[in-house]
């Protein structure tokens, strides 16, 4: 279980990245969503003892991330945003090196690494240098680290950014193989939907909402999303597109040439809240 109480982070240059954040995370997998600069990475780095908060407290399974940082480090794995494997080492060696940082015995580390490399589907390329792997394979190395660590809590910052749809699905199943509690950030709403039932939505350093995907989408019940190039009443302007949310039947009756009707996803929550905040 992860608890944050009034976490604030102001960087040295004055940027207020987190503004009094409160939450409790106790589901198997939680997705943190939010626009670029919302504070997701800052939050994850504070929770995983890489960055100090300016004020406030946070704990992981009852251990304070500042006062008991060393104990926290025993039970967490944190995969940074855009982290890359050491390019001249093989997937297996990358995982073994990481496990040795976790003070695992070499023989035990090798065994755990091999098993995890198998689980994430990298067995065939386990001896190749990472430079020769595809982007998806590289990301899977980090998921393998998380699996092999057998730790209680795993933080993954944008684990699938930049991957093609198939690789993404492969990484998802690797993430599902992680035994501990998983906290991940993502810009892909279908990813949040596929992997987690607890979603934390952030904007400008604040938590906008938290809950199950279904609960968060309740305001959209019975509605569809209509994308149009022309302005409609109660529409949100995103770029040159006007988006409105109307009842399914009404949408079908009033559809105009060029309009696109789509089912509701977490994207819509995002569009609605994001756009509201923007204007």
């Amino acid at each position: 279980m992860i608890e944050a109480r009034a976490i604030t982070k102001r960087y040295k240059d004055g940027t207020l990245a987190l503004d009094g954040v409160n939450f409790t995370l106790n589901k198997k997998t939680t997705s943190i969503i939010g626009r670029n600069g919302a504070g997701k990475t800052t939050l994850l780095r504070i929770l995983s003892t890489q960055l100090l908060p300016t004020s406030g407290t946070a704990s992981i399974n009852g251990l304070d991330v500042v006062k008991a940082a060393q104990d926290v480090r025993n039970i967490i794995v944190s995969i940074p945003q855009e982290s890359k494997p050491i390019n001249y080492l093989s997937p297996l060696d990358n995982v073994v090196l990481y496990l040795s940082a976790r003070r695992m015995r070499m023989s035990e580390a090798k065994e755990a690494a091999e098993k995890a490399i198998k689980t994430v589907g990298l067995w065939k390329v386990r001896e190749k240098i990472s430079d020769e792997l595809s982007g998806g394979m590289k990301r899977k190395i980090f998921v393998a680290m998380a699996i092999a660590s057998k730790s209680d809590v795993v933080f993954l910052d944008e684990p699938t950014t930049g991957l093609d749809p198939l690789s993404r699905i492969e990484v998802w199943s690797a993430i599902k193989a992680i035994k501990g509690q998983v906290i991940l950030t993502t810009h892909y709403m279908e990813e949040a939907q596929a992997l987690s039932d607890d979603v934390l939505m952030m904007d400008k350093g604040k938590i906008l909402s938290q809950g199950k995907v279904g609960d968060l989408l309740k305001p959209f019940k019975g509605k569809v999303r209509v994308e149009s190039t022309k302005k409609k009443s109660h529409s949100y302007k995103v770029g040159n597109t006007y988006i409105s949310y109307i009842g399914k039947n009404e949408a079908e009756a009033s559809v105009m040439v060029g309009d696109i009707i789509k089912p509701i996803t977490l994207d819509d929550l995002f569009i609605k809240r994001g756009v509201e905040l923007e204007y």
Binding site: Q50, L51, R73, L97, A101, R103, I129
Partner: protein, 242 residues
Amino acid sequence: MNLNIRYILAHGWFTGLAAIKSSYYYIIANLCLPLSLLFVVGVLSHGELLPYALAGGLVSMMVTNSIQSAGELTQFRLDDRHQDLIIATKTGPLDYMFGEMLGSFEWSIPSILLYLALDMSYHLLTPYNLVMTMAVCILVTVATLSLVFSILSFVKYTRKSWAISMMLSTLLTVIAPTFYPYTYIPKSVLFVLAILPSTPAAVLEQGLFGLEPMSWLMLVILLAETVVYLFIARYVARWREN
């Protein structure tokens, strides 16, 4: 202090001996400068200063490899986020740096062997100065890597770190008395240059090889720099940021 020996050994192995196969061309590239200068110094001095370029060349090579390792740590911090990954484990900055130092030393082994063979062919090697030379190599690796790591820790972009590494490389390997007798320069200049670990290291090598008077003061300076630079590196390592 509770060092993570397992990590130090693993990091050393993976960035050291294990990396030789995939990055051997860097070993050759890093030998180009000291061996070229050995040639130039030899030609210009009609062979007379060749032993100096042998004594200093080894130091120069160790220093180049250490600077490269410090550069690698910068890449680990800024590009690969490997440092961030490690911070969230119970491995500390000293483990991390010692691992890279061990790797740097292991990685230098082929070049060390080459220099020792050359030294031997010029009858410069005795069991005593072999042992002392190894000690100097270790100290200069720790001191240089710490110094350069500290300087590079203020860099925010890898791009910049390349420029700084190149500059430091020249300062440490060419300006310092690695390729000329240290007695050729005024004492005052020598002591200014002594803030670069390659200076005391090269002076010691010239003394050990019987080329110039031995200066034990330089051993004290090298030891002090090793400790002080390591201490500084530990505190500017950006381990857990504010």
